[in-house]
């Protein structure tokens, strides 16, 4: 495997344009696992760790190279909560938000937050410059995205009008360092409630029917919250695999969404 350590974004984009089948290597916490398991043997890799532009971060724009360790203290509460659940301290020190997006696993813990806040993915290539894509268009299937072979993920952008409250939670079979069987972000603010979920569909998803239902309630009653949970459970599209069952994931999605909404409302 050939390896180029790019010094800046331009160099990375040139290298990628010249070798479209090369893989970007950020923290390597997904890519090197694939390599070690011999699931994937890229012919060459372009290292991004020295690329400072990818580590830029404001409240509304987070560089792809920002690590989970940094995000643990991000002002966006749900993102910071998600960051604290990713892997172990070693993984959080190396793994990045951009890598999470690049892998596009249904269980990627950063993805529901992007979906809940209607984030967009900023992409760039040597020849066509920058384009910005809504998350819904970017994530197209299990570990599949709409990125083009010469593009890099540069940042995640969040619309300015951020909701007042946001909460994240994830269910796993142990109490730390575990892949989500369900993850969820709920936001609440002047524009109403949003509900996004992970691990319950091929891509991160929004529970739009549940959102509509709860947004029609001024002060949700117990019954309304129960109905909200029921609709979330109905809307998700999980599978049964060796990590959990379809029916548990449906149930867990509803319970988490309701609990997070309660947290937002409290």
């Amino acid at each position: 495997m050939e390896f180029v350590a790019a010094k800046d974004l331009d160099e990375a984009l040139v290298a990628k344009a010249n070798h479209p089948d090369a893989e970007f290597l950020a923290g390597g916490t997904d890519l090197m696992v694939e390599v070690n398991l011999a699931h994937h043997r890229p012919s060459s890799a372009i290292g991004l760790r020295r690329v400072d532009e990818l580590r830029e971060m404001t409240d509304l724009r987070i560089g792809a190279g920002v690590t989970w360790a940094t995000l643990e203290s991000h002002p966006h509460r749900a993102l910071a909560q998600a960051a604290r659940t990713v892997g172990s301290p070693q993984i959080r020190a190396a793994g990045t938000l951009g890598g999470n997006i690049g892998t596009a696993s249904p269980a990627g813990d950063g993805l529901p937050w992007i979906a809940a806040l209607d984030g967009t993915i900023e992409l760039r290539s040597k020849d066509r410059g920058t384009r910005v894509m809504p998350w819904r268009e970017f994530f197209v299937g299990v570990k599949r995205t709409a990125i083009l072979p010469d593009e890099a993920i540069v940042a995640v952008r969040i619309p300015e009008d951020t909701p007042a409250r946001q909460e994240f939670a994830k269910i796993g079979v142990r109490n730390a360092m575990v892949i989500s069987t369900v993850s969820c972000v709920v936001t609440h603010g002047d524009n109403g409630t949003t509900v996004a979920l992970g691990s319950v569909a091929p891509t991160p998803m929004r529970a739009t029917r549940a959102e509509e239902m709860i947004n029609a309630e001024k002060n949700p009653s117990e019954a309304a919250l129960a109905e909200f949970a029921r609709i979330v459970s109905e809307e998700v599209r999980p599978i049964t695999d060796h990590r959990s069952t379809e029916s548990y994931r449906r149930h867990g999605a509803g319970v988490l969404a309701r609990r997070l909404l309660e947290r937002c409302l409290s």
Binding site: V33, L37, I171, V173, N175, A176, M177, V178, V255
Partner: protein, 739 residues
């Protein structure tokens, strides 16, 4: 004999002696088997069956041999000696014999200049399979009479009936030992047709016997050396790559190194038997056990390994440490196309302890009794006949003392903080304190120590006194448990010198120490070292008319009569011994007889916080009382207790290899979940020191009991919190929520 005064020595028994290999391991200076290298060595890699059951239609290794850097490829046709190996019965081909009987069965092994080339060589082998239907259901295997061992225990009056009856069906999933060090080895040809071999092992002598047979070499031409082992828990009782790399070393005349990666390790060693258990307990209205009836099926997988002995343990400990005069047990291990099962910490007792203790709780509930009150009423004690075998119990058997200790532990305070670290779901932030229900559960266990059922169980050791101190020679495997420290402590205490080195001999230098399993080395090799050291000391004292041995020589009435140099004037003084435990016998056709050399008991109380709506748990605290005979090293003992409990917690709440039609779906640490420090309960322990009838200073083995009854105790606590039956471990979130 003169009277001996009490030894004054640093680092003797009873102290928290620091392990000699501790700092080197922490600082990365200890050579594990995977760290070994030799000049000119080649790397080996294994082609494994992708099917649980399939016939090889064609196999062509020439494409692999055509790759530059590939030096040799072996298949079953290359095995020069006996084609089969196996600990209890040679039934597994060294390499696939044309029919693969489990997923991951080794088919061919490639030696190449580097690991990557070896892997490419494996991929290049042309092989065509014709898949067959796998037998993956153990009940179907039993119905077709695919049996490794069947034990029918019949004791007492089989017409006996109790007025109170509880029945239950229980299951236990497949647990893996998941040692941190994967299988690894180095085979070095000696230039004269022989081999020196270092492989992860728990018993080099049993490996040796199988290897020479498969290689068709005389005993002295293969020397198995104890290697550095990163954990075992039973996974290394049966051979992995031993014959493969030895054969490649003979063929290539070069050293061969092999290290399994994590996924390969999951298929490269035997696992704990999964079990299905049907139980009926009958009692008087007061709660006295009248009769226990059970049927147990253990899934042995494709080859026998230690299934027969595991079956024995499952049967003979299927009632627990309770008085019961009428017992009828049908226990069977079956042959399937699932991954082979074998030894794992607790060895058959883990399975039936879960069934039996779950039943005791059901019975207590039926009788409206406290769980410990029922156990106290039925407590079995020394001098009584053992409920399954009828053997009169010799040695310490303090069931009631364990119950007393469990009752005297204070309970932890109620949940006080909203810190997610203390809540079910942990950092996942799933669970508010208001969603938590606390449960408390209890379980007891009895386990045999050392090898049972008439096995000629011995351990050899040699103790040598030199001008600078003493050496202990043994081939007992130190797998991380701390035997090395105990042997030093025992020798120091007897010989009065602080300077004791443990020397690991290979199979040509000393006889067998037996396996590092069955909680046996403290008593067996510890017993051998103790006996050898005592004989050596007495000889030295007698020779010099002395009454005490100290670090700087032999003393009489406080006056030195000989220095160590003088004692060793004509060379080091040594004593070799072959140590045996009390003799046992094979069971008769009803499973009766003096089968067990001794027992160790344990009891656990688990306090578990449960989020019933999401099915998430946090084991808050486990309090344990353990019958250890005598505490030789408090810190090492606590390490066994905490680690064993965590393995029990893992089995209760998360650890399971998901096997689907013979194929393991989760052979990685991403998906085979082991408890993390956030899943680890606080542990309090009380040790009951009632001195056993054999073993050094009355000590008992202590490695297995912590893991046995911790699992049912956690299950019982979750049941108490949720009111659910929860008859299968691991208990997963969906089992609690019922979704």
């Amino acid at each position: 004999m003169t009277t001996r005064t009490k030894p004054r020595v640093r680092g003797g028994i009873g102290e928290d002696v620091v392990r000699p290999d501790g700092i080197p391991k922490l600082t990365g200076n200890f050579a594990f088997a995977s760290d070994l290298v030799a000049d000119g060595m080649l790397w080996a890699a294994t082609l494994r069956s992708p099917h649980a059951h399939a016939v090889i239609v064609s196999l062509d290794t020439t494409p692999a041999l055509a790759i530059p850097g590939v030096r040799a490829v072996i298949t079953q046709d290359d095995v020069p000696g006996h084609p089969l190996f196996g600990q209890e019965k040679a039934d597994q081909p060294v390499l696939c014999d044309g029919v693969a009987r489990y997923w991951g069965e080794p088919v061919a092994v490639v030696a190449a200049d580097d690991p990557e080339t070896a892997r490419r060589g494996v991929e290049a082998i042309a092989i065509e399979w014709e898949p067959l239907a796998p037998v993956s259901d153990p009940e179907a295997a039993e119905n077709s009479d695919h049996i490794f061992r069947r034990i029918n225990v019949r004791r007492g009056d089989l017409g006996a009936k109790g007025e109170v009856v509880v029945e239950g069906y229980y299951e236990i999933g497949t647990q893996d030992q998941a040692p941190l060090g994967t299988e690894a080895g180095l085979a070095i040809p000696d230039g004269e047709g022989g081999i020196d071999l270092w492989v992860t092992s728990q018993w080099v002598h049993i490996d040796h016997g199988q290897i020479v047979r498969c290689l068709d070499l005389p005993d002295h031409m293969v020397r198995c050396h104890p290697a550095g082992i990163g954990g075992a828990f039973g996974a290394r009782e049966d051979m992995s790559m031993h014959v493969h790399i030895s054969l490649l070393a003979l063929i290539t005349r070069r050293p061969i190194k092999m290290v399994y990666d994590r996924s390969e390790s999951f298929v490269g060693h035997v696992k704990r038997h999964s079990a299905r258990m049907w139980y009926r307990h009958e009692a008087t209205p007061e709660g006295r056990l009248v009769r226990v009836t059970a049927k147990v099926i253990l899934d042995g997988g494709a080859y026998m390994h230690t299934s027969a002995a595991v079956t024995g343990n499952a049967a003979f400990f299927a009632v627990g440490p309770y008085v019961c005069d009428n017992v009828e047990l049908d226990v069977v291990s079956v042959k399937t196309n699932n991954p082979p099962a074998g030894a794992m910490r607790g060895f058959g007792v883990v399975q039936t302890c879960f069934g039996a203790e779950s039943q005791m709780d059901r019975l207590a509930q039926e009788l409206d009794m406290e769980p410990l009150a029922l156990r106290r009423l039925n407590a079995l004690e020394a001098g009584q006949p053992f409920s399954t075998t009828g053997q009169i119990i010799e040695g310490a058997f303090p069931t009631t003392a364990i119950i007393d200790a469990l009752e005297s532990f204070p309970l932890p305070p109620p949940l006080e903080s909203d810190d997610p670290v203390h809540l079910p779901g942990g950092t996942g932030l799933t669970t508010p304190r208001s969603a938590v229900v606390r449960g408390i559960g209890y379980a007891l266990s009895a386990k045999n120590l050392a090898f049972s059922e008439g096995f000629d169980d011995y351990a050899e050791a040699r103790v040598v006194l030199t001008p600078v101190g003493a050496e202990v020679h043994t081939a007992a495997m130190e797998v991380g448990q701390g035997l090395v420290t105990l042997l030093q402590q025992i020798a120091r205490t007897v010989l009065g010198t602080g300077h004791v080195a443990v020397v690991w001999d290979d199979t040509s230098q000393i006889g067998s120490a037996g396996s590092t399993s069955a909680s046996r080395q403290t008593q067996m090799t510890g017993g051998a070292v103790h006996a050898a050291a005592v004989a050596l000391r007495d000889k030295v004292l007698d020779d010099h008319g002395a009454d005490e041995l100290r670090e700087d020589g032999a003393y009489r009435d406080g006056e030195r009569v000989a220095t160590l140099e003088e004692i060793c004037a004509s060379g080091p003084v040594d004593h070799w011994i072959r140590f045996r435990h009390p003799e046992t016998e094979e069971p008769d056709e009803n499973g009766q007889g003096n089968l067990h050399p001794g027992y160790a008991l344990a009891g656990h109380r688990a306090v578990v916080d449960v989020d019933p709506e999401l099915g998430l748990v946090r084991v808050v605290q486990i309090d344990t009382a353990q019958d250890v005979g005598k505490v030789l090293n408090p810190k090492a003992l606590m390490g066994q207790v905490e680690g064993g409990i965590l393995q029990g917690v893992g089995l209760a709440t998360m650890e399971e290899l998901v096997i689907d039609k013979g194929i393991i779906r989760n052979p990685t640490f991403t998906d085979y979940l082991l408890p993390t420090s956030l899943d680890a309960p606080h542990v309090n322990a009380v040790f009951i020191e009632e001195g056993d009838h054999w073993g050094p200073f009355g000590a008992k083995g202590a490695g297995e009991p912590p893991t046995i009854s911790s699992t049912p105790a956690v299950a019982a606590a979750i049941r108490q919190a949720t009111g659910k039956a929860l008859t299968r471990v691991p208990i997963l979130p969906q089992d609690i929520t019922g979704t």
